[in-house]
Symmetry: D3
Subunit: 328 residues, 6 copies
């Protein structure tokens, strides 16, 4: 900036710009590129992040639509370097594509845009890993349908972390956030036996849904079972099973899988769920698997969050997943 007379002025929130570059923390928001109207070379990027701020499709009132921006705000306090794994995410080139357009009153219109966005990502830069920030769980059905549309020949499996089955009947509720897995089963996009749900517990699913899951061969492991077996082994086991039968694994983190102490921002926050460290461990392992090709994070209402606990857990889950991706 040639004629800028303020050598000592800084853009907001960055105040030590004279720091030794070697020593300085690179924060996540400095690392993730954003689109800015310039021509883009998609081959520059390994990962594409997409915001999907839709929560009008939630059964209970939810402001999960504010989660993409909340995560963007929260990741400013994370560095790119993962000390536990000695991995620096800065190796990856990541771009934040912005948010899918939302219609104020036509949820079906928005759902179509979500599917199109996935198709576009697969078509224009199929080498990138799509990472989606919801929004409520209804978006997962649209995104997986988009993948299927772009890759009709692939067998798709779903690795789901969730307190709920999400097998409610769309003929009753429409394409709401309790229904995505059932939508995919009914549409023939995914088979029941290719769904692995980890994190069910307590008093938060109707008996009929469990029966439906059993009839359709959906696999599920409760929190208690997962802890007994070890959370890491539970995830590895599910991935081994999927690896044997599908081409692509789509991972979906419904953030209500966390115990409400660790995830207070879920519209349906419950006691008895996973602890955040358990979820981070699971995400790392999922990220490492070569057939895992897309991931989303859903059902986190930042307005219900307490002290950013939940949003920071979501960011950490995403970064743990990307750490695993670096380790492939």
């Amino acid at each position: 900036m040639k004629n800028y007379p303020y050598p000592l002025l800084n853009p907001p929130t960055f105040v030590w710009n004279t720091l030794n570059a070697e020593e300085r923390d690179v924060k996540v928001h400095e690392w993730i590129a954003t689109i800015n109207g310039q021509e883009m070379d998609w081959t520059d990027y390994d990962v594409t992040i997409l915001g999907v701020p839709l929560s009008k499709s939630s059964i209970s009132s939810s402001s999960a639509s504010e989660n993409p921006d909340a995560m963007r705000q929260a990741w400013k306090s994370f560095s790119t370097y993962n000390l536990d794994e000695d991995v620096d995410l800065a190796e990856l080139n990541v771009v934040d594509l912005g948010d899918v357009e939302q219609h104020v009153t036509d949820i079906g219109y928005t759902h179509e845009r979500i599917t199109e966005a996935m198709v576009a990502m697969r078509k224009h830069h199929p080498h990138t890993l799509p990472v989606m920030m919801g929004g409520d769980h209804s978006i997962t059905a649209q995104l997986v349908k988009g993948w299927k549309q772009a890759h009709p020949e692939e067998t798709i499996g779903v690795l789901q972390f969730d307190t709920h089955f999400d097998l409610r009947d769309p003929s009753e509720l429409g394409q709401a956030n309790g229904t995505p897995i059932r939508q995919l089963l009914e549409a023939g996009v995914v088979k029941g036996e290719h769904v692995h749900n980890i994190g069910l517990h307590g008093f938060f699913n109707a008996k009929a849904l469990k029966d439906y899951a059993d009839e359709h061969g959906v696999h599920y492991t409760t929190v208690k079972q997962a802890r007994k077996k070890g959370i890491e082994e539970t995830v590895r086991h599910a991935l081994r099973e999927l690896d044997a039968h599908v081409d692509t694994v789509y991972v979906t983190f419904d953030m209500d899988v966390l115990d409400m102490v660790h995830g207070p921002g879920a519209p349906a926050a419950t006691p008895g769920g996973l602890y955040s460290q358990e979820l981070f461990d699971a995400a790392l392992i999922a990220g490492q698997h070569s057939k895992v090709k897309a991931m989303d994070i859903v059902c986190l209402d930042p307005r219900k969050d307490i002290g950013q606990t939940h949003v920071k857990a979501a960011v950490h889950t995403m970064l743990s997943f990307l750490t695993g991706y670096c380790q492939r």
Copy 2:
């Protein structure tokens, strides 16, 4: 209850049942009847309260859908006796009809149900005064359309308390909460010159909307103008104007008209609005006018509220309005 062995047990929240009936406060929740599956004699009632828990149609994220229940909870701390006016609302017979059915993902379906509910009220017990608890402002368009459908011959005017014009373009946003007045104008249900808006202020409306209002002859009085003239005289003036030209006045209280200190729960809470006492005074006068035949309260998100300030103001607004109704 013949064989109930617990003379000393009480239903929840009511613990001094041995109080002298004369002296005892009758609280609003003890006064308002509820439907319970028994056959009803509609001639028993003067006022019908209807919950309209729709806020999926909001431009900004809103849990105004929780307002009807929040008001029901808050009115437990209000008595029926208005000391300022020496009026006991217990003279009126009021029934809470419950909530209009909501579709989880089809906003249009819900909008139709809202219109039908108004039609049903006008058809089955046209002698009652409908009082609606929203929900966001999109419901006002549906409710007024319902009135028009039931009374096609009537000329309808709208007395609106609002920080906004609500004249945005439904062809862009759908039937969202920024559009209801424009919907009514475009549908020919209400004429621009029969709309009186009180409460505009500050930096919260686009210039183009003001131009649209001017073109269509919408009347409006800013907070500053209203205070200068006196809030009571401002309302009386608007009602006189309407009285001269319309058959029915529909009053709509967008609770964001309150200064955010008095109304922190509005999704678009702003400084510079009305104070709650000013709104109560306005509501009393509106309730007194014989052509005022329906009223709604909208755009209050109880999750954003602070210490029930806003919800209690909404209840007080409703009760002040009903006090005026008693005084007719």
Copy 3:
């Protein structure tokens, strides 16, 4: 409701009533019956829930009096089906009797009513399981005294989950919430060796109370000891001991036994306590034991709660306990 013209209207908070009954979640508030002035057939019920909204007897300021209603509100988000145990609580018939009458200024009067309520339950429908929602811990003394009055021949044991001994001296404090176990010992209603306390820890009991406990043979297991042994085995061991010596085990959950992260609503919330999952496991096992014949949940101030964490844990504790009861 024959002449109700609003087929599309719903009672508040229930909006998808057209759902397939098979699939639909039955929520806890739909399952628990309430009294309504009709004649009752007590043989219809297996469990009677009683609210005891007394917290004026607390040493520190407490609004635990609001806990019964807070639990009633919170259980609306729980289903009856326990996925972990594959048990549907809907098998049980449960009725909520409402709250024990409270005197505004005479705590002794209220305490007498609490005892009478237990006597009435034991006399009028001794086949039901009484579940009490406090209130502060002073109520436990009154309730156990009521049981003893109804069953003078029985030997009663107490299984207590608590951060405190509750062995303070009633001659100093009156029948306050630090004293219930000592009251029972002094009154000869329960013997010291028939009390098993699980959950003591840290810096929250005077040395003199520990000495008193030792002198009277009260059994206690600290959080650390319980974790080392396994929380489930700790509870089973205590029950085996009690089973060998008493006729009836009364279980009391002082919700301050939870670590303040999991139970922020305790007036005396502390770090270092149990985690909620540990308490749920304990409650399940306690519920399974055939000699456990009554249970209470106390010392939870919903106003101190953060995001319903504590109240939902209390509901889950009650439901876990009832799951065990189903498994008898």
Copy 4:
């Protein structure tokens, strides 16, 4: 402190002790003396402050018992100099006597101690002005009874700032916080026509209480009436009336008289009440009157307060009152 080796260490919360004494703010907590076990010379003091931390006698759940300490904490941010009136309160000698002893479970015992404390103040240092910090409004009855006991020959009047009449029936509720004025009337300590209530409004009193007030000649001025007449003139008028008929005026500020925006901490916070500046103006005038000889501040629950708004208003009310006292 001879051998204290830390010249640079300071007691907590006071960090600029080297400031020029002339310039330095004297904060209220530095000005108000406290008792410390040393022999006291009561002639040193003009005003005695007494905490009365009783709120177990509240009809609704209240932690007003924590108000005395909350006020002590909050007044640290107030200086002694009143700029508006150019009065320095440091002219007065004030001592904080501490709190009246509280029994954990026997409210009657505590009530007797409160009366005794007033008698002791009147007997041991009748030249001082007693200022009481409640606690709930039940304490006012005990305090005025204490005054009467010490001065049986005096005619006592009450100047009450309150949203409520406080004329409920003690034969039903006991000596609860809705009853103090009625207690005084029934006990013949104060006559109805010697009670002036300022601040009633809205829907917060039963019709029967208004009738009782009328029958007993209690004077009352609603918020609306007071504003129309001017709050200062309203208070002056009431004092003139009292001056003509009584020997002593006891002033009681029920802090729920404030609009809930200005007084969110009242257990029964309501919209439509006084604004804090209006109450400060009233307190100043009350403090100036020579027959005003005692004052209390009640019904403020600091746990319900938001950002210390209410507690700071209570401190300011007390200091405005004392400013008036300086101006006598």
Copy 5:
């Protein structure tokens, strides 16, 4: 963006980009330009906004350093069109220069940078109006010194809105936030008689400071006096006085001048201050005056704010001031 394949994707927070441009709200963040490393033509701009995120110099603990970013976030919900005045701020060209560099531990270094920034603004584009967002009040001394350095020949006056004199002694406190006006007086940059303070009230200034003000001829008007005279006339009067004696008026808004109900975020929030509407009216008039050439907003800690009340009031104050500036 030629090869961007996502026509339906939007940048975050902007989701209706297909709206008719005429009708669409232009929000403040869309209007205010930001620096981006491109060469700048300073003649394009009328107003330069500068963040000064320093609050380490506060006497009490303060996060006012977060205010510049908080205001940037909050102004996204304001439009550029002022309906009350029928002025569209979009007429002005405004650029946000970013924040002055902050040293983590050397406050003096930062203070020098602040002075330099003002000098640079006056030197490089003296035609622009500088608007500064603090930070605490210590920055005002540095900014006015910078102005004086750039314009040594000018006589400078200060129009201060404040609950405090800010005349504490820098020889004791250093250049802390209680001292800026005294610093300017002692440095001979401003004379006492050229300072007009509006907003003092209550118990928040030491007597010695009032005496100092009197000795140096500082003008001050308390809240009560200002209300009696009318806030608008009070400001006009001060400006007339200043107009007669100085070349340049620097306006400083210490946001603690607001009553704590309207300004809960001030580190020293107090009852008895101005209401937000009064401050907006004052800012409008100040902005209109031709000798007012710079303005700052200080002492607002967004972490103490409640529901954005205070930060939105700060934004509104700035926009009201700029409205006045448009009207010159």
Copy 6:
């Protein structure tokens, strides 16, 4: 107090003074002596507590300066008796020295006072154990330097519980809170191999800092590694290592080492840290070691805390440490 006429009055917050002394809880604030201007006999004391309310040196905005008073307030709810260890801290004589003087604007001045305070403690009563309550982590460098100044011949080791290395470059940041360990290394006060850091995890340190740590031989154990090995064994191992090489071990607890669920008040709160019970166990073991001669607790901002969770954890950490000290 001979002539005090109020036998029934009590000082604030202590209301059951007639309790049997044997039985009564001694609370921590009753046990810790305070300085009061009387001559002191330093031989009376075993432990000296010092507040260091400095957080102006924090990189991110922090009110950790309020932590000493917050801990003093919070420890009122702790007893002196540790039930887990059957140790009564009342055996120790502890005095709270108050706070180190703070300069409002000169951080360097304050830092010098902190060093002097440690020197004074070592000189005037070297037999006492210094326990410091920060403040931010910058104080640790000053305190250890003070120890070195008093004991130049000693080799000092540091046992650090922290989410961060604190090895940032003071030549860039000054003596800020990210730099204390590097300051000590650069000053030659402590050697890299005599630093043991426990608690690093996740994405919160730059890679360059890890490299710096490796180059200087700093020992570190991540949360994951510590849990795998056992937190107790991890601490014992570090102490064994230190015991072999140093004369004195200084223990520093950066409270951000806690998972944000357990420690929400850290300015840089993160998920993935230690749980409070783990920290208590570590503190106990550290306190037991004979070479541990000083301890501090830093980086806890009580304003960010939620429901006192973090502050109570800090108090418990201090008391656990002192329990260990009793067991030496």
